[in-house]
């Protein structure tokens, strides 16, 4: 595949269809049909990825605004904005939207759909129609969730614990639960599609040992999606039915202890999914980071096998740690001890990744473009989030820290500091491939640094608050905690500025960004061997893979071309 840099100097977007055939024959996927029908009925994995991207960004905006309302309410010890009931609904909606409609589908739905087939040299996902169906099912789920929010919200917290949710709460638990239930099937469809695609659609020469680490991570994620999500579905199903029996005036006690049910059973079923789900949220991010760190330090990845298998390790061990969410819920001491030990085991594969990434950076020729800044931010923030997770896995400290802001800070470090930064890193890394244009170098770096600083300012004070006893989900707090809450809210505004900056320069780049060319980063993966944006069938002819994924020392792409010709 020849690398044609003749367009590099030319500005004017590739979205302009007058110049839609840069490589002669087939049009790019963006120009293969116009109008809403060509999008809503497409089976092209790239277009479906873009549809996921648009909706996820919209939900990210909604979830972000909800987070802002929560944070600004906490500026005052007695609640600055809304009454306590509304506050409950705000943080619940924030949780549901961010988890089920942003983080879980984010990288699998957007980058997984867009890049898994390309990176393994396939023309499409194994099941293109199922892929489109997953988007529609997800939209249906989000419709239920939006209905629940618009009809007055849910006040149970995103965990929907019975018997409060099924008996006492008079908010919209059933439509909200239905949204989670339906969106889960979309997650299963995407996961199944990716697993089969990776197993069956690899190009000649693309052995398991030559798979990019992003593929390994996405594959491990998909295993969790496929095997854990059905259990959430049945838990939520039983919850909905139990709630419905309450309406008949003749309640059945599946989870209601007053009439023979067991609320802990719901927690077991719920966390059997929802703990692995946090690995659904972080593993694809880890895959992205592996791609970016090696590319921008111009060095072969350190410990390919270790990173690849640690992804699988996290997926496997992630299934047997769920009860650490329930240490104070009344499970037996012996179960708690066992789950405490198992939870600490997850730190091992995670640490293996961080050490290997660090070794990859060591003596590399590092350049600090936006994807790299986000990736380095991920490494720092994820490590803090991971290490504070060990505090919570430890039985004794967890009893002190359980349900405090320490927990909030911990999982936001992993979810936001980890996954959101990884998503931003992925978006910036692959933006030129997805759109064909390059964004502003200066503004993207500035935004990355702003987001990271704002991020630290938001969540660092919450460790202090939590350690000193501020419970999560409370709208009120003693006045001496005020300064830390105000700092945290200030951090939110800094992050907001950073994200708005990103939105601006990315939008601007669509209209007058420079042409990116096929391989703007001099990277080695198959996705960089085809034009930007790719043609509908991805490859003119099936590529033959001859090299390992990260041969930066040989400057060799996976098809055996020269990687960096800049």
């Amino acid at each position: 595949m020849s690398t044609d840099y003749g367009h590099t100097a030319k500005s004017g977007a590739s979205l302009d269809h007058h110049d839609s055939h840069p490589h002669g024959h087939a049009p790019s996927y963006l120009h293969d049909g116009y109008g809403w029908r060509s999008w809503l009925f497409t089976v092209d994995h790239k277009r479906i990825g873009i549809m996921y991207l648009v909706m996820i960004l919209a939900f990210f905006l909604v979830g972000g605004v909800l987070a802002g309302l929560v944070r600004f309410n906490l500026v005052s010890p007695t609640g600055a904005l809304v009454d306590n009931d509304t506050y409950n609904k705000l943080f619940t909606a924030h949780g549901v939207v961010m988890l089920f409609f942003v983080l879980i589908p984010s990288i699998p739905g957007v980058m997984g759909n867009f890049f898994v087939p390309i990176m393994i040299g396939a023309k499409d996902m194994a099941f293109p129609k199922l892929n489109l169906a997953s988007w529609y099912v997800w939209m249906a789920g989000s419709g239920f969730a939006v209905w629940a929010i618009l009809a007055g919200g849910i006040d149970t917290g995103w965990t929907l614990y019975p018997p409060y949710s099924s008996r006492s709460s008079h908010s919209n638990v059933v439509p909200g639960a239905m949204g989670v239930f339906v969106a889960g099937f979309s997650s299963i469809m995407t996961g199944l599609n990716i697993i089969i695609t990776v197993h069956r659609m690899r190009a000649p020469g693309m052995t398991w040992g030559r798979l990019p680490l992003f593929i390994w991570a996405t594959y491990a994620t998909s295993l969790i999606q496929v095997l854990a999500t059905p259990v959430l579905a049945i838990a939520v199903f039983l919850l909905m039915i139990e709630t419905a029996t309450g309406w008949t005036g003749n309640p059945v006690g599946i989870f209601d202890p007053a009439i023979g049910g067991d609320p802990i059973l719901f927690q077991h079923l719920f966390w059997f999914y929802s703990h692995p789900a946090v690995y659904i949220m972080i593993l694809p991010g880890m895959g992205v980071i592996s791609e970016i760190l090696t590319c921008f330090s111009r060095k072969n990845i350190f410990g390919y096998q270790a990173i690849a298998w640690s992804s699988v390790g996290i997926a496997v061990v992630g299934f047997i740690v769920w009860a650490h969410h329930m240490f104070v819920a009344g499970i037996s001491y012996y179960a708690a001890l066992l789950f405490s030990l198992l939870s600490m085991l997850v730190a091992v594969p995670s640490a293996i990744k961080v050490f290997n990434w660090t070794s990859t950076l060591y003596r590399g020729s590092i350049t600090f473009q936006a994807p790299m800044v986000f990736a380095l931010g991920f490494m720092v923030l994820f490590t803090i989030g991971g290490v504070t997770g060990l505090f919570l896995a430890t039985l004794g400290t967890d009893i002190h820290l359980h349900d405090t802001y320490f927990v909030v800070a911990h999982f936001h470090f992993v979810m936001v500091g980890g996954m959101v930064l990884a998503f931003m890193a992925a978006l910036h890394f692959w933006w030129p491939k997805m759109t064909g244009v390059m964004y502003s170098d200066f503004w993207s770096r500035t935004a990355a640094i702003t987001i990271i600083i704002g991020y630290i300012l938001t969540f660092m004070p919450q460790f202090y608050l939590g350690y000193h006893g501020m419970p999560r989900r409370y709208p009120n707090y003693p006045p001496e905690f005020r300064v830390f809450n105000v700092l945290s809210t200030a951090g939110y505004t800094v992050q907001l500025a950073g994200f708005l900056m990103s939105a601006s320069y990315l939008l601007v780049s669509l209209f007058n960004g420079k042409k990116a060319g096929p391989n703007p980063w001099g990277a080695t993966g198959l996705e960089w061997a085809i034009p930007s944006p790719p043609i509908t069938h991805n490859f003119d002819k099936t590529p033959v893979v001859v090299a390992a994924p990260y041969e930066y020392s040989l400057n060799l792409t996976q098809t055996g071309e020269k990687a960096d010709v800049r």
Partner: protein, 238 residues
């Protein structure tokens, strides 16, 4: 992307790659189904261990005769659908149509008997929202079940939990079977139109995998629900 050459979709390299993907896809889907049912089996097991006496008491009232006949129907249908694959591969369209229709009819017979059973259950008050769970006839004396149970220390709240699981498990299974019948009928229509050709047998093979799973799940549901308590010969209808 939907360019097709015979059975081969455009995005696959060759037909064997496509068949492999379709088979593996169905197996992965079955894995999710197993996890889905595992959740409700787990919940059922927890309460069965907590409330063995209550579960046994109400399980005795279920109609084990219908459940037994239904098991035979499903097992037979698994056989007919397997023969249908062979008929499809050898291009024996007449046998293919007969076997697919037999499979769908056996599934429909299961659902018909199940519907009849639900109706009798409803009639006898065996529903979670009931306050009167029928009566027991012993030596010509009619005695309300609630009185019998009060004497035996069986709690109506726990009986309702069992009935909740009875309807949830058989209901979810029934929905799966209805979907299966729909797919088999769709294949039957394709067979009648002669578009289910031997090179497309994998569509039938993956359907049969699903059908077998639904069958196998019934074989777990049946003893869990119907055989949790003792049944008298009288109840068996002899």
């Amino acid at each position: 992307m939907s360019a097709r050459v015979g059975a081969l979709c455009g995005h696959f390299e060759d037909i064997e790659q496509q068949r492999g993907a379709e088979r593996l896809g169905m197996w992965m889907f079955l894995a999710t189904e197993i996890l889905f049912f595992a959740g409700v089996f787990l919940a059922y097991t927890v309460y069965r261990l907590w409330y063995p006496k209550d579960f046994a008491a109400v399980s005795s009232l279920l109609n084990v005769t219908i459940a037994g006949i239904n098991s035979v129907f499903l097992l037979t249908s698994s056989m007919t659908i397997t023969f249908a694959i062979r008929a499809c591969q050898t291009g024996n369209n007449a046998a293919l149509r007969k076997l697919l229709l037999a499979t769908a009819l056996l599934g429909a017979a299961f659902m018909a008997l199940k519907a009849y059973e639900y109706a009798t259950d409803y009639h006898e008050g065996l529903v979670p929202w009931s306050n009167n769970f029928g009566h027991e006839t012993l030596h010509g004396h009619d005695k309300p079940m609630l009185d019998v149970w009060e004497h035996d220390g069986v709690s109506p709240d726990r009986v309702k939990i069992f009935l909740f699981f009875y309807y949830s498990m058989t209901g979810i299974h029934g929905i799966h079977l209805i979907i299966g019948i729909g797919v088999v009928l769709y294949l039957y229509v394709r067979a009648v139109r002669k578009t289910l050709t031997p090179d497309k047998y994998v569509a039938l093979e993956t359907t049969s995998l699903y059908w077998h799973l639904v069958d196998a799940i019934w074989l777990f549901i049946m003893p869990l629900l119907y055989l949790a308590g003792p049944h008298t010969v009288h109840q068996l209808g002899f």
